[in-house]
């Protein structure tokens, strides 16, 4: 088992009133699963993904990740944990505009104390795999949206994560580009056994996954 959420609640205090963003979420994810999260806008999909990715905290409940109790971990250990095992893909790519494609790919490795020569090799490998060697010296603004997201996925993969969290990865792409990214996810999941959790609004994209989770008002339905 990769991770397990038990009775997770998250709320914000607004004028003496608790507004629940997540309500009693229970979720078990096995290694190698490909999960799609769906639900109307504002239903808490991103919030849930952030909680799973440990970028956000929750107020009640328990969360185990690879047999570690995330809810009782200190911030520093938590960040070590996600740094090691989780890769993130965003709707708006979030590549750093000041860095070239190559440098963007290298960036996560900088925080992992990996030697320079090894970093170079990993980056070259990734460029090769995604067939973007020719683009390595370009800056993100010089790429199309599809290409940018390709780099985004490559960046998420470079640290060899067990889990990829993708928040509407194709939200800004046209259907052909979407198709490509989805095919890529499917391949990664099948061939390399990477666990994937994606948020999506599209039934078609959701179908790539092995399981669909529906949210409504912060509650699993």
């Amino acid at each position: 088992m990769l991770l397990q959420l038990r009775n997770i609640f998250k709320w914000v205090q607004l004028g003496g009133q608790r507004i629940f963003l997540l309500k009693d979420i229970n979720l078990e994810v096995q290694e190698g699963e490909f999960i799609s999260i769906m639900g109307p806008s504002g239903s808490g999909k991103s919030t849930l993904l952030n909680v799973i990715g440990m970028l956000d905290t929750f107020d009640e409940g328990e969360y185990d990740f690879l047999n570690e109790s995330v809810h009782s971990l200190k911030e520093k250990y938590r960040s070590n944990l996600y740094k090691e095992y989780i890769g993130f893909v965003f709707q708006s790519y979030h590549l750093l505009d000041d860095l070239t494609v190559e440098e963007n790919l290298e960036m996560p490795l900088l925080y992992k104390k990996i030697k320079s020569s090894e970093r170079k090799a990993l980056v070259a490998d990734m460029l090769d795999r995604f067939s973007i060697v020719g683009k390595k010296d370009l800056f993100p603004t010089q790429l199309s949206g599809g290409q940018q997201q390709l780099v985004g996925v490559a960046r998420a993969l470079i640290g060899k994560p067990k889990l990829i969290l993708a928040d509407e990865p194709t939200g800004n792409l046209n259907s052909q580009q979407s198709e490509e990214i989805m095919q890529l996810f499917k391949k990664l999941n099948k061939e390399e056994g990477v666990t994937i959790i994606q948020v999506t609004h599209s039934e078609k994209n959701a179908a790539y996954g092995s399981r669909i989770i529906n949210l409504l008002d912060g509650r699993k339905i």
Binding site: S46, N50, G53, L55, D56, K76, S79, N80, Y82, K83, E84, F88, F90, S92, H94, L95, L96, D98, L99, E103, M107, P108, L110, Y111, K112, R155, G159
Partner: protein
């Protein structure tokens, strides 16, 4: 990792050119000012600090309670040094220092005037003025020996070896050069070009054993391991055995190392001196650097929206907060290094002018380790100071918040940034008011009614044959038509050389020890100096031969002495009876910044050093001077004709205040400039961040005016708060500053109005430049950018 930081930092610099330029220019101005002031302070603090064993060197001072107030002064009787030498074995060396005196040196046909003094042979043992030629033990042992500086030696002897050469001093006595001193460094208060042994003074019969005549400086160097506290308690009562008139006057040892910076006493306590000026500008240096750093902080945090995404992404990729802090600090270090480099170039360019302005030869010693260490220290410190807040602020962003895109903090001025802007502008306003007040004070004093006519008035010192030929000289000067009036006086009208509490008059209170200034004048003093006669008449020896014991009082003296009808009253001074023949309006004799003291002008029975002449206004000054020189050459052929203009000498009294005023003005200007650079940057970010809001408002029909108001309002509010903070602070400090001057302005309210309005206008122009730009942008374009 480091290379990566540097790369990102550099790209950031290049990408955001205007941000970088604002930051670098602001910081480098701050660094330049800071460094210049520190160089100056360093020079001042090093003044006369190069003497070996300086902690054992003391200046002998006197302390005496007069009218319940303790007075401290540093001139001593000539008999003091021998007494110390005889009675106090703790003292290793002791030397007197006669005042700096101009002497005429002649070798063959060459005549050169030089300033030097008469000292005891111990002098060279006390102070570290090394001899390049001659033996320290014997150079001053012979009456007719003279020690000269290298430059002076070159001037009289050229390349000839000066040792053993003969020179004639003051056309009378022949001296043998026994030693050559290394030129005095720039950072010493001593200015002599030659030294003559004290025995010469005795030979000339200028020595005296009068303990009431405090006229020379006395320096001592104690033996090693002397317990200073014990010894100073011991020497305190020195006068008991010698001074019949004031046996209770205390003898005080004042550390020589403090004489330059401190040595101002009030009621027996050291109250500072030059050090206050240095502290003030040190404070200003720190403040200006701080203001430059504040710019950096403000601009960096204002840019936070742009950097927020980067922080979020890096954190999601696993960057620990620590690394992000390093990264941002690294960026500010890079900027401070570039700024330092630019500052360095500016400093090299402006150092000569700045030296000129403060009147000190400042220089940078590139070979000194201390210089490089402090340069690196300043870069690191500035980088840290400027970068710390942005680094902590930026690195604290939560990735889940910034990446969601709901992050819009930068739209408004956040509180710390507001505080920083308020600090900047408060300082600017304080400096503006300070500059205005200093300038006003200076102008008031410069416009002060002097009480004498300083124009077309010159003076010369009595030297050579002038004393002997004075009668004929005067006669001829008047006859030549170059001078309309001539008088001999004891000192120049711009300097008071003599004072006493020993003057007696009828009705003087028993222990009234009010100090009265003395001026002596032989004839026509009122006419020559242009004094304003209130009662009685001028001294006129021709008509009234008894005027040799006449005395003229100033108003303050009359009030002190309580004379109802002063003319004809008698005052006793120096064992002579002087009869009052006139009263003059108070005139400025000492410092124009202080109140006027009681003064007596005694007649021809006094002693004389100076000749004052009123030039004939019907001729050109050049003609007058040429004529006078001819007359002087006639009666004093051996001496070059030297003269000083009274108005020029008077102007010198303002040099210190003028420097203060100029520096204050300069620093104010730079502070405003730096603050405006920051405000400009801040306003441009604000405008940029609100470009969408502005677009929507315009589409909805808002006018340019309302939008400019909207964008400028926040800033102007801050400037308003700054004004409220600055006024009381400035008022408090400037009232304190003015306390030092007896003759001073009262602070007027409009100074604050001017400073406030000026700052508001400058801020408004700076901010609205950006606001107008934003408001006039095409809304369709700006809305499409999202």
């Amino acid at each position: 990792m480091f290379r990566n930081y540097l790369k990102v930092a550099w790209r950031n610099l290049i990408r955001n050119k205007s941000f970088s330029v604002l930051n670098i220019v602001g910081l480098s101005i701050g660094l330049t000012v800071f460094t210049l002031i520190v160089l100056w302070i360093n020079f001042e603090l090093g003044f006369d600090r190069f003497h070996e064993n300086q902690e054992r060197i003391y200046e002998v001072n006197n302390q005496y309670a007069i009218e319940g107030e303790i007075w401290t002064w540093n001139s001593t009787p000539k008999a003091m040094a021998p007494a110390i030498k005889k009675d106090y074995p703790e003292v290793d060396w002791v030397s007197r220092y006669y005042y700096d005196t101009p002497f005429l040196f002649s070798v063959d046909e060459k005549r050169i005037k030089a300033t030097g003094t008469i000292v005891d042979p111990d002098f060279l043992h006390i102070f570290s003025f090394p001899l390049v030629q001659g033996n320290i033990e014997s150079v001053l042992s012979d009456v007719n020996s003279v020690v000269i500086t290298e430059t002076f030696a070159k001037k009289i002897f050229g390349d000839k070896d000066p040792i053993g050469e003969l020179v004639k001093i003051d056309n009378a006595d022949s001296f043998k050069v026994t030693g050559v001193l290394k030129d005095l460094p720039d950072n010493t208060d001593f200015t002599f070009e030659f030294l003559v042994p004290w025995d010469y003074l005795i030979q000339k019969d200028w020595d005296d054993n009068n303990w009431g005549n405090n006229s020379v400086a006395t320096y001592v160097k104690l033996k090693e391991n002397v317990d200073f506290n014990n010894f100073s308690a011991n020497i305190k009562t020195l006068r008991k055995n010698y001074d019949k008139d004031s046996p209770d006057m205390e003898t005080l040892l004042y550390p020589f190392s403090r004489t330059y910076l401190y040595s101002e006493f009030e009621n027996g306590k050291e109250i500072g001196g030059r050090i206050e000026l240095i502290r003030m500008f040190g404070f200003i240096a720190a403040i200006i650097l701080l203001i430059a750093c504040i710019n950096f902080m403000n601009l960096s945090t204002a840019r936070s929206e742009k950097r927020a995404k980067e922080v979020g992404v890096r954190k999601v990729m696993g960057a620990p907060k620590k690394y992000l802090i390093y990264q941002f600090l690294g960026e500010s270090m890079l900027i401070s290094s570039i700024a330092a480099l630019l500052a360095f170039v500016i400093i090299l360019l402006v150092l000569p002018s700045f030296s000129n302005l403060v009147g000190k030869e400042l220089s940078i010693d590139f070979t000194s380790k201390a210089f490089w260490l402090s340069a690196i220290g300043i870069i690191l410190f500035t980088g840290m100071l400027a970068g710390s807040y942005p680094a902590l602020y930026l690195s604290a962003f939560k990735p889940s918040a910034v990446l969601k895109g709901t992050f819009h903090k930068a739209n408004t001025l956040i509180t710390p940034r507001k505080v920083l802007v308020v600090v900047q502008f408060s300082v600017a306003i304080i400096l503006i008011t300070a500059t205005l007040i200093i300038t006003q004070q200076l102008e008031k004093v410069q416009d002060r009614q002097l009480g004498y006519a300083k124009d077309n008035l010159i003076y010369t010192f009595i030297e050579g044959d002038i004393e002997k030929n004075y009668g004929a000289l005067r006669e001829e000067l008047l006859k030549s038509g170059a001078a309309t009036s001539v008088t001999k006086t004891s000192s120049p009208i711009t300097e008071s050389w003599s004072n006493t509490w020993g003057i007696e008059w009828e009705g003087k209170k028993e222990n009234d020890k009010t100090i009265i200034l003395r001026l002596m004048a032989d004839d026509a003093v009122v006419k020559t100096l242009g004094l304003e006669l209130l009662e009685g008449r001028d001294i006129d020896l021709q008509k009234y031969p008894t005027d040799s014991t006449a005395v003229i009082l100033n108003e303050t003296s009359v009030a002190l002495m309580g004379f109802e009808d002063p003319i004809g009253e008698i005052v006793n001074d120096n064992g002579k009876k002087w009869h009052v023949i006139g009263v003059v309006k108070d005139f400025v004799f000492n410092s124009p910044f202080q109140k006027i003291e009681p003064l007596v002008i005694e007649g021809a029975k006094g002693w004389f050093n100076v000749v004052h002449m009123k030039l004939n206004e019907a001729n050109t000054t050049a003609n007058n001077l040429a004529t006078i020189e001819r007359v002087y050459k006639n009666y004093n052929p051996e001496y070059p004709f030297n003269y000083d203009f009274v108005d020029g000498e008077y102007a010198k009294k303002f040099s210190d205040q003028q420097i203060t005023s100029k520096l204050a003005g300069l620093f104010t200007l730079l502070t405003i400039l730096i603050s405006c650079l920051g405000l400009f940057g801040l306003a441009s970010y604000m405008a940029e961040n609100r470009i969408k809001e502005v677009g929507i408002r315009k589409v909805l029909g808002a006018s340019v005016g309302t939008i400019v108001t909207l964008l400028s309002k926040d800033f102007l509010k801050l400037v308003g708060i700054s004004i409220l903070i600055a006024i009381p602070v400035s008022w408090y400090y400037m009232s304190n500053w003015l306390e030092d001057f007896a003759f001073r302005i009262t602070i007027s309210w409009w100074v604050f109005v001017i400073a406030g309005v000026l700052t508001l206008v400058i801020a408004l122009v700076t901010v609205s430049f950006q606001a107008v730009k934003a408001a006039r942008a095409n809304p369709v374009k700006s809305l499409r950018t999202e």
